[in-house]
Amino acid sequence: MITWENYEEYMVMHADGELLPEQEQALMSFLYEHPDLQAELTAFTMTKMVPDTTETYALKDTLLRPETAAKPVVMALPLWRRYAVAAAVVAMLAVPGYRYMMQPSVTNGQEYGAVAVNTGKTLPVAGNNNPATVATATSAAEQVTHVGANSPAVAAVATLPAAQSRPVRATRTTKAVRVGTTNTPRTTADSRVLAIAATDISPLEVVATQPIKISEKNFVPVVTNTLPLAIEYTESNDESVAAGSLLDKVPMSDTRRNGMKSFVADVATGYSRVSNVTQEIAQASLSFKIGKKQLKVSF
């Protein structure tokens, strides 16, 4: 309740805008009853200070702090991490496969290879001085997958003596030649890569190519793909074992195998992109602007 003892307090609170609506109403009623106090309320209201906005702090810029301190490095790290992870994944997948694919196959101290010349014919690779080889050559159980053309590897192994060659039936190629060296320890007994005919594509692309399964019972040589593929020679009595690319050796469903091949192809593409980016980064110098400082990173 507003009285003569506390009305000034209400007036101050009115000037400060702290009165509740009902208190405001009570004050107005009190002033209505005592209109001579209206001037005093106006005087209290006039004590409100108004800031002069033209008075500004001139040294404001000296208070500002750099906002990008160490942020470029933090922001760059995720990008580098992505490249690093991508490169690591590609390396983990590519390096072992590459080494495996490039490892020369040895059979009885000989390496075998073939050359695809797209003639549409299938020829035995060679080897007629070895009785065992001849016997094998006449057998339909011999399984061979294809070849690559005009590769240095083929050229290098083409100098092998024909007497030590094995009969090989090329399926996707029209002409198969023996490639390899002598006196090399035997590596695997059942299956081995005869050669990789690398032309213009990388080993990863070789891995990514479609494998060819050959059944010796209904063996029909058909040239379906001129791209070089890994040649594998399967020396096994199991006729159901078909030669193919690396992925064909892994026991899995065709659907999963195709998916894996697609994945390998994607990895090869990513590897190529990462390599290009890496080369570009190596050739160029990166620079980050941290505040007013320019940070240059050279490789």
Binding site: V12, A43, T47, V50, P51
Partner: protein, 158 residues
């Protein structure tokens, strides 16, 4: 609060803080020191101060530096507005109010400025000045009454 939010506080509140400190200390140089000191403290404690509390924190530091520093120096010297001859033809209320403000002690002056310049409520002023709401209400009442009496006396002179 990060560096960006700190800089936002600088851009938004440096001028208001400077005006507040200038009115509190009465000296522009002291006001510059108060502003710099307040923002320096804010920068040092930016990890502990949320961005939305930046303004209140700045005024709290500025209030302490203005009031406490004046108490330590024992030099409550307010640069009063120059004496002028007030006539009906020159009723500059702002200058009269500045002179009236000089009549207040540093704490009452700070409370009035926090209320009028920044629009803080009694409760918010209490948090900034470390006073309870009743104390703020009492101090502001006395300050308003002093200012009103000064205005009335000037008008009577006029």
């Amino acid at each position: 609060m990060d560096a960006k939010q700190y800089n936002t506080c600088v851009r938004e509140w440096a001028d208001a803080l400077f005006r507040f400190a200038w009115k509190c200390t009465g000296q522009q140089d002291d006001a510059n020191d108060v502003v710099q000191g307040a923002f320096e403290v804010l920068w040092q404690k930016k990890e502990e101060v949320p961005a939305e509390k930046g303004k209140a924190f700045l005024f709290q530091v500025a209030y302490r530096q203005s009031v406490d520093n004046f108490r330590k120096r024992s030099r409550v010297v307010f640069k009063e507005a120059p004496e002028e001859h007030y006539s009906p033809s020159n009723p500059d209320l702002k200058k009269v109010l500045d002179r009236a403000l000089a009549q207040l002690d540093e704490r009452a002056r700070a409370l009035v400025l926090l209320k009028d310049y920044e629009g803080y409520s009694y409760e918010e002023i209490g948090r900034i000045t470390n006073l309870n709401e009743s104390q703020v209400k009492v101090y502001l009442f006395r300050a308003r009454k002093t200012l009103k009496d000064y205005l009335v006396s000037v008008e009577n002179v006029i």
